[in-house]
């Protein structure tokens, strides 16, 4: 039976939604803010041991010998794991593309500083760390591949002996008549950019407790997992278990942003448990481990881009040449972040032809992982900087050149050259709103006045498209085949009418449990309080993926609407039987099953559920007494990519325009954000407070990436120079502006309830906004910044060159 998912809150069976679209209080917050949620480090199993991991101090070296005899003798040590165990028990991890992975612990050689080499489980973490000091490892250094230049040098050492070179993927996509468009252009601008390595840094690092059941040869992993079923499948593959023998229980976690990682830590804890004859083993990654070699490093990029423009400011062609330092292999799916820009390659603009050359190389830096945004933030710095370069040269205001090139509301659905289809948008309306809100012209005046006093003020105006609701088809170009990302929920109404929603992901901070309760409460006309949202581990949950790719709000809405609708269909049959009418004449409205045209002939939902469970004699013959339903949602109408990677990938296209006013201190190179304005459009705002939280948090990460954060590696020897929060600088409350926000709602015509993915838009936009603002402040001096983060030292150096020239 085909289920129709409501395309708008108005299509729900309620005269006026009481919760959907409202800033309701989040049901998960009391447990999160009081710390009573069961975070993994607060959780213990009887007899549990604690793991610590010995990590490589070398970027690239052969392991000649590992001697653990002293550690094994140490009192309190219950198991020691080395490459020899790994060789016996493990497979090389799956990667995208295949063949660029490693075992969870190095066996013959290490490929990055921080790669696990041995591990200990002991009665406490203290004892385990003491024991690590007793392990002797003899290494033979290999030449280090410090960066992409080293990686592709003629005599480059191979990081993966099974591969012919260090190039993971080298591919050029051509979309449309690129050469023609560039030949015909009045102006072609070409620039280089460098985006230094940054990444996710959730408040809580990764942690797990693994329990190897030696009797049943099965594994249970409790932990702070972002994508539990994906992790379970991966563990089955790497640990040689059937997939139904790995059970993953995800605990509420203190953020993730893609940084929870966990495959290696889980495998190591699992094998320590196996070696300790089934004693559960806890592993909590500490911050040094996280910063050195956790899942927190992403986007290490060298760009060259060209933009073709007509004399009157029409953007016609865009070429991007990307060299991406993936680090030591593809185990963290960092390759995906180079492919994701295909989903919004040309931003908000009607650019007709484009080309993307991506060269993904392996080096001896830590492997790169997913990070919120998953690739577009650097891409947008490039695209939006190029647009400003054109504007400046043509003497156009950055606002005008953007407006001139927008995809217009009547052009949707709009297929961009790289193949994705944008569902809807009102770009000019968003721009107008943010211009009014920010008093843009007054800011320009302020800038002129400041400049007369020798102060450097700059304004950045940047708009981006946020691909929302990811689909695996977007990544088949880098080796993750598949179309569709199923997300399932079960909705069950008990005999007293209380409703429970069961789903396969846990609390991560975004507020989806609240959204689930809002949706169900409005669907069945009950109080939100009476809806319970509960987590199910991978063995019992419906198919699910969980958080990622700005999809969960939309996917969850689809799944919940589907499950509710299925229950409604069952109730229709029950009530039709009881009221002796046609099922078609029964409808759900405001919590009651009503017979059309028969005033008063109605039953509350709770009573129908109670009847189903308690009065089988009243049910239609053969009817299953089950007031519950499972529905698994995936986006409709997705397809496989063609030979140029083109497909309908991300379902929704939210958009936003940010305007920032910054001041650059000419003497010190310090950039200060004075004002920050945002107008965004993510369609229906199912819970406006949740959306605002996503935006503000995502701005913080954008500010971090563009001004503060950087995983620095030594240019001399490739050693990581950052392993503490005193060196990896996350922005704090003093650094992140409280933004002024407003919105426009252009509902998605294709997504459940008209909502668009909105978890990443601000980090897509903020770095570009600040880069453009800084350049606006200094352009008249004849210099421009093309490298992030724009640290004071970097900017000072640029400004210094001007001083010296004058």
């Amino acid at each position: 039976m085909a289920i129709t998912i409501p395309g708008s809150p108005q299509d729900m069976p309620t005269t006026a939604p009481r919760y959907v679209g409202k800033e309701v209080k989040r049901i998960e917050d009391p447990a999160l803010v009081t710390g009573t949620a069961e975070f993994i480090d607060n959780f213990a199993l009887p007899g549990m041991a604690h793991a610590a991991i010995l990590r490589s101090p070398h970027p690239h070296a052969k392991i000649l010998r590992v001697d653990t005899s002293a550690a094994e003798q140490m009192p309190g040590v219950v198991a020691v794991l080395t490459g020899a165990d790994i060789k016996r028990w493990c497979n090389v991890g799956t990667t995208a593309p295949e063949g660029w992975g490693s075992t969870p612990m190095a066996v013959d050689k290490v490929r990055f500083v921080g790669e696990p080499v041995a591990a200990v489980a002991a009665t406490s973490r203290y004892v385990a760390e003491d024991a690590l000091e007793l392990i002797e490892v003899e290494y033979e250094s290999l030449p280090t591949v410090r960066n992409p230049q080293d990686a592709v040098a003629a005599d480059a050492p191979l990081i993966f002996d099974n591969q012919p070179s260090n190039v993971i993927q080298d591919r050029t996509y051509t979309w449309g008549e690129v050469d023609q468009v560039f030949d015909d252009a009045d102006h072609v601008y070409t620039e280089k950019f460098r985006w230094n390595r940054v990444g996710a840094n959730p408040m809580e690092t990764f942690g797990c407790i693994c329990h190897w059941d030696v009797v049943n040869n099965s594994l249970t992993c409790y932990g702070s997992y972002q994508t539990p079923s994906f992790i379970a499948l991966g563990r089955a593959a790497s640990l040689n278990l059937p997939s139904n023998r790995v059970r993953v229980v995800s605990h509420p976690h203190g953020g993730s942003f893609g940084g929870k990682g966990g495959p290696r830590g889980t495998d190591i804890a699992a094998l320590l448990s196996r070696k300790a004859n089934g004693k559960p083993v806890k592993y909590i990654e500490d911050r040094v481990e996280y910063l050195l070699a956790g899942a927190g490093q992403s986007w290490d990029r060298y760009y060259q881009a060209s933009l073709a423009v007509t004399a009157d400011g029409k953007l016609t062609g865009f070429k991007v040449d990307l060299v991406d330092d993936q680090g030591a292999g593809a185990e963290g799916y960092g390759t995906i972040s180079a492919a994701k820009p295909l989903a919004a390659f040309t931003g908000c603009y009607t650019i007709e032809a484009a080309q993307y050359h991506m060269k993904l190389v392996a080096t001896n830096r830590a492997p790169t992982y997913a990070y919120r945004g998953y690739g577009p933030p650097p891409h947008n710095v490039v695209l939006e900087s190029m647009v400003d370069i054109a504007a400046r040269d043509l003497g156009m205001d950055p606002v005008d050149i953007r407006r001139r090139n927008y995809i217009q509301p009547d052009q949707f659905p709009y297929t961009i050259p790289s193949g994705n289809e944008y569902d809807s948008g009102s770009y000019a309306a968003v721009l107008d709103k943010v211009i009014n809100m920010s008093e843009y012209q007054a800011m320009r005046q302020q800038q002129r006045e400041a400049r007369e006093q020798g102060r450097l003020l700059g304004i950045g105006v940047v708009n981006t498209v946020e691909p929302g609701v990811f689909d695996w088809n977007a990544y088949s170009t880098v080796g993750v085949p598949g179309v569709g990302v199923p997300e399932g929920v079960k909705v069950a109404i008990d005999i007293l009418g209380h409703i429970t929603v069961t789903l396969g992901f846990t609390l991560e901070g975004q507020g989806q449990y609240t959204l689930a309760a809002q949706l169900v409460a409005d669907y069945f006309g009950v109080e939100m309080d009476s809806v319970r949202v509960t987590y199910a581990s991978t063995d019992v949950a419906p198919p699910h993926f969980g958080h990622g790719g700005s999809r969960l709000g939309v996917a969850l809405s689809g799944a919940i609407m589907g499950a509710c609708k299925k229950i409604e269909e069952k109730f229709r049959l029950v009530v039709a039987g009881l009221m002796q009418c046609e099922p078609d004449h029964v409808e759900l409205m405001d919590g009651h099953m009503r017979v059309q045209g028969m005033p008063g002939a109605e039953m509350p939902v709770a009573q129908v559920a109670g009847t189903m469970l308690g009065r089988s004699d009243l049910l239609p013959p053969g009817m299953e007494p089950s007031p519950e339903a499972t529905y698994v949602w995936t986006a409709d109408d997705r397809n496989e990519p063609d030979d140029q990677g083109r497909c309908k990938s991300y379902l929704t296209a939210a958009n936003a325009c940010h305007i920032a006013l910054v001041e650059v201190d000419r003497d010190t190179g310090i950039t200060q954000i004075l004002k920050y304005f945002i107008v965004d459009d993510c369609g229906t705002r199912l819970n406006p407070a949740n959306v605002e939280g996503q935006i503000q948090g995502s701005v913080a990460q954008g500010v971090g990436a563009v001004l503060y954060e950087e995983y620095v590696y030594s240019e001399a020897d490739g050693q990581p120079l950052v392993s503490l929060f005193s060196d990896y600088l996350l922005p704090g409350i003093h650094e992140v502006p409280m933004t002024e926000k407003a919105f426009i709602e252009t509902p998605s015509p294709v997504a459940p309830l008209g909502a668009k993915g909105c978890g990443e838009g601000a980090i897509h936009t903020t770095p570009a906004t600040i880069v453009c603002a800084v350049n606006d402040a200094i352009a008249h001096l004849g210099v421009q910044t093309r490298e992030t983060p724009i640290s004071p030292n970097r900017l000072w150096k640029l400004l210094q060159d001007v001083v010296e020239e004058n």
Binding site: R125, Y126, E129, D130, E133, D286, R287, V288, D667, T668, G669, I670, Y708, E710, V712, L721, V722, S726, D727, L729, P731, G732, H734, E735, S791, P792, N793, W796, K797, Q800
Partner: protein
Amino acid sequence: MKPAPFDYYAPETLEDAVALLEKLEDDDVEAKILAGGQSLMPMLSLRMARPEALVDLGKIKSLDYIREEGGNISIGAMTSKRAVEDSALIREKQPLLHAATLHIGHRQIRNQGTVGGSFAHADPAAEYGAIAQALGMEMVVVGPDGERVVVADDFYISFLTADIDSTEVLTEVRAPVMAAGTGWAFQEICRRQGDLAIAGTAVTLRLENGNCTDVVIAVFGVNAIAARLGDAEQLLNGKAPSEALFREAGRVASAELDEPISDVHASGEYRRDLVATLVRRCLLEAVERVG
């Protein structure tokens, strides 16, 4: 990130603490004093410091005081930086010390971290290093042989090393009350608010017949220890304050620095140039304050 094993002691008097330190020394046990733990605990967790014994001064209440005596402000070593921040006496009588305190970390750090700890730790980027130099502060150190008073210039020896023997306790620091008519300024550059500075300067000066006199310039965060910048001070003494003079003083200050530290946040070259800017800005601010 767990400390290596250590024994823990918490003596209740200064005498007990000194006796204990002496005994541990005699027994060849490597001991470290624990004050607020804001620097030491991370070093223990990273196993960068691995003493066999920790002597916690937290129970010695007699080392927690702020008082004015003999033209000095005396601060007990175990006084929290928060207490300095909240002290009306210090704000009024030694405003430079007060201003510098507000730049130390965040309030949570100042709640927990002690004044003695900051001086004893001798971090190159510690604000108090520059204040000690600028004000010519005195440090009181007590050991088995009694009490010594060390002047700032002798107290700081090198990177993370102060003149405190392994059997000694820093008990008090003394700053002179600021003379009336003194102009002062304190400025630093950090990557984020509350971070250790990548460069900072403290300035005091007076005006006589419209000319600068008694100019003191101290710089920190740039070299292994904070330092006075004598060439720049000399250039200024006896001259009428002006934007151009201060710019020149900045240049001289920057030129007389020893080769600055270089790290992931700031190159030596950048630090050197920041000092020129900071000196200029501090001089302007200090002159303004003389009023």
